[in-house]
Amino acid sequence: MASANAELHQLDKSLIWSGFKQLAPISLFVTVFGAAFGLAAVQAGLDSTITVAMSTLVFAGAAQFAALDLWGPHIPLFTMMITVFAINARHLLMGATLYPWLSRLPAARRYGVMLLASDANWAMSMQAFSRGKPGLGLLFGGGLALWIFWVFGTWIGTYFGNAIRDPKGLGLDMVMGCFLLAMVVGGDKSMRMLFIWVVAGLSSLLAYWYLPENSHVVVGALAGGIAGTVLGDTKQ
């Protein structure tokens, strides 16, 4: 972990604006993903207002898509909470890796900046720190860009979602599955990860067939987590 030197934790309007501009090109893609979410959410039976509210308040793509899988007339609250927590647990690691710089900010700013932490702006801000440049403007300004375009995209998606009459014929019932799978395949690939995925997948299926409804997500996540802990870190 890089040592935090004196001025790298700086955060002012010009750094935030510059972070916003650096993440704006990526935000075009975020708009498309947002639209995909809006579309999928409407198909899962959420109304447009709730869908846009979810993107605004939760702002976490994979967790939001996963929530759609659990959505229905009766939502299993505990399973939903565990699922959202497990998917977003990587935020815990983002906060931990940013801590050397965040710790130099007053508490209100420290936690305020973390409101918008997500994968892309976290990665860019860590990159900036490793090059000896201030990174918190990227984190907050970039996060602001991602957030605005995510909500905007979601709103567009709900609009089209309500207009399409045969979503299944257009393959749109697969948006959620394909999105989550792309996230899995795009992640870290190694024999270790493959083993973890196999453990998670098999335990999930066993739970799906033999344990109470909706327990498969929790069982698979825990089994995979335990596999990862027992396996140790072969990369280092």
Binding site: G45, A117, A221, I226
Partner: protein, 102 residues
Amino acid sequence: MNIDVTGMGSLTVVLIMAVVTLATRWGGVYVMSFVPLSAPITRFIQAMSGSVLVALLAPLAATGDSEARIALLTTAVIMLILKRPLPAIACGILAAALMRQL
């Protein structure tokens, strides 16, 4: 415990999701101000956040119709080749659409 999505139910679910997510955004920073995350805990969190997606997908792939399976397979293959999510997802959806139109 189940929540009915009638009335304020669905908004309640969204608010709960928001609070849980916020806890993950703040939690890492908060815990670090007392004690650094240990290596095994870091490994557990890393493995778990990927596994939860696999756990969601496994039944989808195992119980879905053949169109669904082709869509997932297409997404996985294109993602492995191009390493870019947008074309991978788009082709997966397109594959399902084409098969359903035939």
